[in-house]
């Protein structure tokens, strides 16, 4: 029942927003819907912690601790974004962005698009985490792409249409590879399970029999899955859609792409990773993942260093973090899995903050190019400026912020292995990225007062920032016990102990 409610709420919110006739009503529906969703996600997490996996409709929907964690994070990101979105779009409306860009359509129809597609988008992400069947999971991941295409082309500029087209095409090709991988997995399990019913693709069934799967098929299947869901996660070299989409989409949408869709794609990858390691041992998957992980972190380095736009900078940060999580999976073992999920959690909480800061700055300066900004934002933006700097430190993994802990755990897992050069290389790359990032943002925020009018007056934008920033700070010093339990339990699923 709980699982059904979690899926039904965003759907209902989407439908109601579509029918709504004015802005306030749509805002209220979204806020209420996502608040309720977050509470339900917390309820699901506690129930899974207390009583183990939950399932429904003959195991069509199922939630173990890993699903519960992803649902919880998705709901959290959606809630944070819905609060921020209120302020963000009101500011857009004040700046007359809609009249200028969206082919004469009134603001209300643009807003309706956002407020009704976003819940649909969230619904698809939740279905990814809750579907037990790997085929249904694929359908849901494809649905996240389809629901978000028009959110990316939201502003209707030539560049946003270009970004949306690349996103849809690259995503479509990537996901077709993932579908091929899913078909091959089904085939490799086919003669073991001797079934042509739905259960033949249920993860909970597959994982018990994975050791007897056909090995050649499984290898090919995993490669295709890695390429496919890797594209969706923006792992290099399939990352090219990411900077475009992140810089053209409205900020709340970009934050959801960076913090929640990334989780869903990695979640899909993890499910197949578990099957593959059970079938072929950890070596095969690990070697592949190390290559893609290091490549992603490595690709991010030059683009971070010479980046011209702070929105695109954030996208490269996201590619970098996707790579780190892939590497954590590659290092493997209990510690690697734990490090990965800790990083996943901290990343989903910290990343939206960075995006919200960038959004405030962009709306203030009316540009996202470093070149046009004259620095000294701290004078005109007493809230967003310092928090932007803080979020930068947090996201590049500087202590005391929580992402330092997770990166440390991942590196420890790396040094526990037999090959030492990947973790060493990772440290070097991370340091370079940190330097590049900090130089860019510090130049933007610090410096002499350029005499801009004061901003940071909109309470929605200000308090969503302060609220999220406090959570980030608190997490640096104190991780709630139950949340850690959930992460540890989910790490057991990833490590294949469950």
């Amino acid at each position: 029942m709980l699982l059904f409610a979690i899926l039904a709420i965003p759907l209902a919110a989407g439908a109601m927003s579509f029918a709504a006739r004015n802005r306030r009503v749509m805002e209220a529906i979204n806020l209420a819907g996502f608040t309720a969703l977050f509470l339900l996600a917390v309820a699901l997490a506690t129930q899974v912690l207390r009583a183990g996996s939950v399932s429904m409709w003959n195991g069509f929907l199922a939630a173990d601790s890993l699903s519960a964690l992803v649902v919880l994070l998705t709901a959290f990101v959606a809630l944070a974004c819905s609060v921020y979105a209120v302020g963000y779009f009101r500011e857009d409306e004040r700046n007359h962005v809609f009249e200028a860009n969206v082919r004469g359509a009134a603001a209300i129809s643009s807003l309706r698009k956002y407020y009704s597609l976003t819940p649909l988008f969230v619904f698809a992400m939740l279905l990814v985490a809750l579907a037990n069947n790997l085929g249904v999971m694929w359908v849901a991941i494809e649905a996240t792409t389809l629901a978000s295409v028009f959110l990316i082309s939201f502003y209707g500029r030539a560049t946003s249409i270009e970004a949306a087209w690349k996103y849809a095409m690259i995503g479509g090709v990537g996901l077709s590879m993932a579908l091929f991988g899913t078909i091959l997995t089904y085939y490799s399990a086919h003669h073991v399970l001797e079934t042509e019913t739905l259960a033949g693709l249920n993860w909970s069934v597959l994982v018990l029999n994975a050791a007897q799967f056909d090995k050649t098929t499984m290898k090919l299947g995993f490669i295709l899955i890695l390429l496919g869901y890797g594209t969706k996660a923006g792992i290099a070299p399939m990352h090219t859609w990411k900077p475009d989409a992140y810089s053209e989409a409205p900020v709340p949408v970009a934050a959801m792409l960076a913090a929640a869709v990334l989780n869903c794609a990695l979640y899909g990858l993890i499910r197949f990773y578990v099957l593959t390691t059970r079938c072929l041992g950890p070596q095969f998957a690990s070697h592949l993942l190390i290559i893609f992980g290091l490549l992603s972190v490595g690709v991010a380095v030059p683009f971070v260093l010479v980046q011209k736009s702070f929105r695109r900078l954030l996208a490269y940060s996201s590619i970098d973090h996707g790579g780190i999580m892939i590497l954590a999976l590659a290092f493997g073992g209990a510690l690697g899995a734990l490090g990965m999920l800790l990083h996943l959690t901290f990343h989903s909480i910290t990343k939206p903050l960075l995006f919200f800061c960038a959004g405030n700055v962009e709306q203030h300066l009316k540009t996202d190019l470093f070149r046009r900004a004259k620095g000294g934002l701290i004078h005109s933006m007493p809230v967003s400026g310092p928090i932007f700097l803080m979020a930068t430190l947090a996201v590049t993994g500087i202590p005391p912020f929580s992402m330092f802990q997770s990166e440390f755990t991942i590196l420890r897992a790396g040094f526990g292995g037999t090959v030492l050069w990947p973790p060493i290389l990772l440290i070097i790359l991370l340091v370079v990225i940190f330097i590049g990032f900090l130089v860019h943002i510090a130049k933007l925020v610090l410096g002499a007062d350029p005499g801009l009018p004061p901003a940071d007056s909109c309470p929605w934008k200000k308090y969503s920032l302060i609220g999220l920033a406090s959570i980030v700070v608190i997490l640096g010093f104190w991780l709630p016990g139950p949340l850690f339990e959930l992460i540890r339990d989910a790490a057991r699923v990833v490590g294949g102990e469950r």
Partner: protein, 216 residues
């Protein structure tokens, strides 16, 4: 019988690569989907897999009838030039497609299990090879065509390859999954269609190589 039909599917795919006219390409795609529905029906009949009839029916109504109509209307509506303007010229494209077909056969050969003649793969190792070739050629078409609508068509034919792989390996996916895939496909074509329309409107062209403002 199935192998013969699969061979025709492959021939049509290569015809699509060699074709210069947009509307003809859409019709070739429709014919290919029609054959695919025929293959699904045949497999359903001989192997007693009733859920495949539904998949076959959906393939026929959606891919062979509905989507081609939608795409043709889109072509007429945006009134674009009829030539597809490939980046790689036709003879070379055909040569590459031939090469990709060979790759398809090599890949499919690795699935050969002589000890399990009862497995569905024995029904169509050739079919699987065709499926893999379709997938690869679809991929190639995607990167070698400039017109946005041709890329959509390439994506669809790539999807056809996947469907063929699924029915030749395992008599298709479970029904719910199959339905979900069809639903996604339908929505995808609508979304991409609207996007194609917007590209045409904004750039006054469907040449995707013009979409190059965002970089770095």
């Amino acid at each position: 019988m199935i192998t013969l039909m699969a061979a025709f599917v492959l021939v049509l795919q290569i015809a699509m690569v060699g074709q210069r006219w947009l509307v003809t390409n859409i019709r070739v795609f429709a014919a290919q989907s029609f054959l695919l529905a025929g293959i699904a029906n045949t497999i359903a009949y001989f192997n007693h897999a009733p859920h495949l009839y539904i998949a076959a029916f959906l393939t026929f109504t959606l891919k062979a009838v509905a989507l081609p109509i939608v795409l043709e209307r889109l072509v007429n509506r945006v009134d674009i030039g009829q030539e597809i303007a490939p980046i790689v010229n036709v003879p070379l494209s055909l040569l590459i497609s031939g090469g990709l077909t060979t790759v398809g056969y090599i890949v499919a050969a690795s699935f050969h299990h002589p000890e399990e003649s009862a497995s569905p793969a024995s029904l169509g190792r050739n079919t699987l090879a065709v499926a893999v070739s379709l997938f690869l050629i679809g991929f190639f078409m995607m990167i070698s065509r400039r017109k946005a609508i041709m890329q959509v068509l390439a994506l669809l034919s790539l999807e056809n390859g996947l469907f063929l792989a699924a029915i030749s390996l395992t008599y298709g996916m479970p029904l719910i999954v199959e339905l979900g895939i069809f639903f996604d496909l339908l929505v995808a074509v609508m979304v991409l269609g609207i996007l194609v329309y917007r590209i045409q409107e904004t750039f006054d062209s469907m040449d995707v190589t013009k979409l190059s403002r965002l970089r770095g």
